[in-house]
């Protein structure tokens, strides 16, 4: 089995790179909203997401855009696998603020629903109508070896033909994203291995 990366997207606080090309972002609002508008995405639910989900959504959207990915058909052979360091801590903190003070105790349902990291995989699956396996791993820091292992594990299911696999970290206004679209028996030159992932992350 040769797994290959068909497309990828790298997002940090300073840059957006899709398949080796830096994407120009018009700075008008917040960084993630600016990326959304620059990529000409139309998905109003984006604005309801927390920053972690927005980061994962944008990473997957931009990685899939060059492939003209079919978002209208249900696909049971595509998995979604994500990983990060801070889990949903950024949104957990926001939620805590809504319940911190007894005199101002108004727990926000909209903030609460994102206090789970794997909501990101759900948002990506809903957007792309993928119904294969999904998983979210939390680890100490970005690790190319583990990234590859997580992606490979999705393909242990012989029904899975492709995987949207990403590192999606957002905490304290720091965005660090690498999304890949990986396929089985790829003819692409970009083979999924530790060196490739290391290189893409350090672009």
């Amino acid at each position: 089995m040769k797994l290959g990366i068909e497309s990828y997207c790298r997002i940090t606080n300073e840059k957006v790179i899709v398949n080796d090309k830096t994407i120009a972002i018009t700075c008008e609002q917040s960084w993630l909203t600016d990326i959304y508008h620059s990529a000409k995405i139309s998905y109003p639910k984006f604005f309801k997401m927390d920053n972690l989900a927005k980061s994962g959504f944008l990473g997957s959207e931009l990685a899939l855009q060059p492939l003209e990915f079919d978002k209208n058909t249900i696909k049971e052979d595509i998995a979604v696998v994500c990983c990060n360091r801070s889990s949903s801590l950024d949104d957990d903190t926001s939620y805590q603020k809504t319940i911190q003070n007894n005199d101002d105790y108004y727990p926000s349902p909209a903030v609460f629903v994102y206090t789970l990291a794997n909501i990101v995989t759900g948002e990506i699956s809903i957007r792309n109508k993928t119904m294969g396996e999904s998983a979210f791993y939390v680890m100490e820091q970005f690790n190319p070896q583990k990234f590859c292992s997580f992606a490979e594990s999705a393909f242990l299911d012989s029904n899975i033909q492709a995987c949207i696999c990403g590192w999606v970290e957002y905490y304290n206004e720091n965005c660090d994203v690498l999304f890949t679209y990986i396929t089985r028996n790829s003819k692409n030159n970009k083979e999924l291995n530790i060196d490739t992932i290391h290189t893409l992350y350090n672009l």
């Binding site: 909203t33 109003p44 604005f47 309801k48 108004y106 926000s108 349902p109 909209a110």
Partner: protein, 85 residues
């Protein structure tokens, strides 16, 4: 009443993160759920919190909520008659 309706529209846009919608886009008499703004169940919970936080009205009955959230006008009338803030 018109002032309260406008205030309510602005608050709903802010609290529900309806980024690309302006108060003028919201039909005062249109249903809030099922069509129009396309609000979901989490939005309904968020509206209940808004009623409590901004107007001191506790909506703890989903059937009552359905009636109150029929439209912006119905919401505004209910707030006007029951507000404690």
């Amino acid at each position: 009443m018109e002032e309260l309706i406008l205030e309510l529209k602005k608050e709903i846009i802010e609290v529900l993160n309806l980024e690309e919608i302006t108060p003028e886009d919201i039909d005062t008499d249109a249903p809030l759920f099922g069509e129009g703004l396309g609000l979901d169940s989490i939005d309904a919970l968020e509206l209940m919190m808004l009623m409590q936080k901004n107007y001191g009205i506790k909506v703890d009955n989903s059937e009552k909520g359905k009636e109150i959230f029929k439209s912006i006008r119905v919401m505004a009338e209910f707030i006007s008659n029951n507000r404690t803030k």
